[in-house]
Symmetry: C2
């Protein structure tokens, strides 16, 4: 095994948002040298790295010149320049997840096709090169309302996804390539974070349940463990491992799934990186998702994922009607609540539904943690200073 | 409560060693602005702060000019210039622990007198202005061998403490002011970390047991929880709270104690800061000692100290016979052991018994964790590159 602690070997990270920031906590723990690329001078990950580079991770030259002097390179976001990553990989940089995996995931149409081609259960779908093609298919009846529309590329945090319930919902959709998926009536939305390393070793974190915000199409609560039969739980984990293995992934992969009313589990979508549904692993598991990702991309043995306590995570998002310099109100009572862990990402500007932080509540039972998480979320207000 | 998250309010920290570094992990979690002063350009805490200042925290002018533009100021080490801290406090900076507390603790003679004056159980002792005075007392029989010698000031990590068992042991002792304590035959060495805030609220972490290295006079293992009757456990916690209250401390205080063979608990010494005996709180408790210290010095409500799992910490110190640029050997197997958490401080130079990192093992039982900690400590070797 390579000597990595307190050496000059460097891990480059494309993206210094909250995921990059929480990954840096782990690199500091092992004293691994890091270099972060982000387009914002105020990025949450601007501290805790050895070197911060201001620049666009979508730009070929920027990524290539950023990566030339690192030995390991990873991402916190999929929307990066994969051509530069390929060139760097060919020149000897250890790039994980691989450029090929990132490309598959970047395009939601390609991602769905990948599932279909690898016999990974997913909802039926059709792909379209443009909105015009989609509209024609609706006209001809090969796509029937209701359905789920997803932009093939560029979606993030609930943007780029719409449920088309009536004809009028078609008007605001983007013009570009897209997919139309069957609208699946589901019981629960689940997520399994699985890690896989170069040796093909795989480890899953406990299956979690996600509760979505009714209007923002964004995860509001993540609950661990999921309330599932052992049988369904292993089905979910097996499915996640099947995806990671098919991708030959090195790193962590978050696999979001639907549990249908018929007891089927379908893959919704995957992300080859740390994920919002895994934030509670920081307090809750023997190894956090961030440490696990670090281990996997550095070719180290994977960590144990045993749960310490039941936990519930709530996202702290910008309040509606508030944009501008952020201020956090009312968190005093939260700090006094046993088991409440507040994470503030350090973004200076808030806007409605922007992810500004999260709260993980650990408790003796999941029900207790869920109730406290709701109180915590109501207790803290993410507002703008003048409004 | 003051708005502290993502603002320009700044916490200054005197000392950027491992304790400062682990405190910074918590300031990042809350996005609290920080400024660190340390004499080493390579200090573990040089990253993760907003501003790093190179300089000597024992020097009046350096500390005063460092502290002039911060709102909160704390320490990771007691050997700081307290005159500068007093001036800063008088000018409105919130300095915690207070300069008065630091002064009491800095001088081991003064510290023992403080215990005596406040009816806090401690071993009998005599203070001397110089080695010559001590030798005279030994000559006259008012101090009898065996006894424990401690330098009044400047001791650290086992330096400045000697057990005088025979006359020859007197020769190498330092020339300065010192104390001679009765040598107490004890059952166990215990530590309680207690936090106290401005409102006088106090919270103890679970009592831990410390196992010392046979020759280095340094903590080798810390075990949580201590194996004690409920009665002795509350006695230990009460004693720790009595010290914190007598000091009117704001921050955390590590109180090291002896459990004598007669079942008495005596205070050995205290430190008004985070402490080696509390490192396992990072993985093990609802709130870590570092977060607790941060909460206390910022005037926030204290966090819950409930234990998640039994845990054992082992210090990773430089191997004997090795000095120079550090390298860590054999840690691959450790990374594969469930419940093992490796912390590498990031000091580039090793020397025998220098604290270079630690391992916290969490387990289903304390016995399991203790056994794994020993295997972990044996598994990883802290050596110099050329030797």
């Amino acid at each position: 095994m390579k000597d990595l602690f307190s050496t000059d070997l460097t891990l480059g990270i494309l993206g210094g948002g909250q995921l990059g920031k929480m990954l840096l906590t782990e690199t500091r723990k092992y004293d691994i040298r890091t270099k972060v690329l982000d387009p914002s001078a105020d990025a949450p990950g601007r501290l805790s790295c050895n070197q911060f580079v201001l620049g666009d991770f979508k730009d070929f030259d920027t990524v290539y010149s950023f990566g030339k002097d690192v030995q390991y390179l990873t991402i916190e976001i999929e929307s990066v320049n994969t051509d530069a990553l390929e060139k760097l990989r060919d020149e000897g940089v250890s790039v994980n997840p691989s450029p090929e995996v990132i490309k598959i995931i970047q395009n939601k149409a390609g991602q769905k096709e990948f599932y279909r081609d690898h016999q990974i259960a997913t909802s039926p779908f059709l792909t379209f090169g443009s909105k015009a093609e989609l509209l024609e298919a609706v006209e001809q009846g090969s796509v029937t309302i209701p359905f789920v529309w997803k932009a093939a590329s560029g979606g993030y945090d609930g943007f780029g996804v719409s449920i088309v319930k009536k004809k009028e919902d078609l008007y605001p959709l983007g013009e570009g390539a897209c997919i139309a998926e069957d609208l699946i009536p589901f019981e629960k939305e689940l997520s399994v974070i699985v890690a896989r390393n170069a040796q093909g070793e795989m480890k899953c974190f406990p299956t979690v349940e996600m509760e979505f915000h009714p209007t923002a199409n964004q995860v509001e609560y993540v609950l661990c463990p999921a309330d599932l039969s052992n049988d369904l739980d292993s089905k979910a984990r097996d499915l996640a491992m099947k995806v990671a293995d098919a991708l030959k992934l090195e790193g962590v992969l978050a696999v979001e799934m639907f549990l249908t009313r018929e007891g089927e589990i379908l893959v919704n979508e995957s992300a080859p990186r740390t994920h919002n549904s895994g934030h509670l692993t920081i307090e809750n598991n023997y190894t956090s998702q961030f440490e696990q990702h670090l281990r996997a991309v550095l070719g180290l043995p994977l960590g144990d994922t045993t749960m310490k306590c039941p936990a519930v995570m709530a996202n702290l998002v910008g309040a509606e009607g508030h944009s501008g310099d952020v201020t956090y109100e009312g968190y005093g009572d939260l700090l006094a609540m046993a088991g409440v862990n507040i994470h503030i990402y350090g973004k200076r500007q808030t806007r409605p539904f922007r992810k500004m932080g999260h709260v993980t509540v650990i408790g003796k039972t999941r029900a207790e943690a869920r109730e406290m998480a709701e109180r915590a979320k109501e207790g803290i207000q993410v507002k703008s200073i003048k409004s």
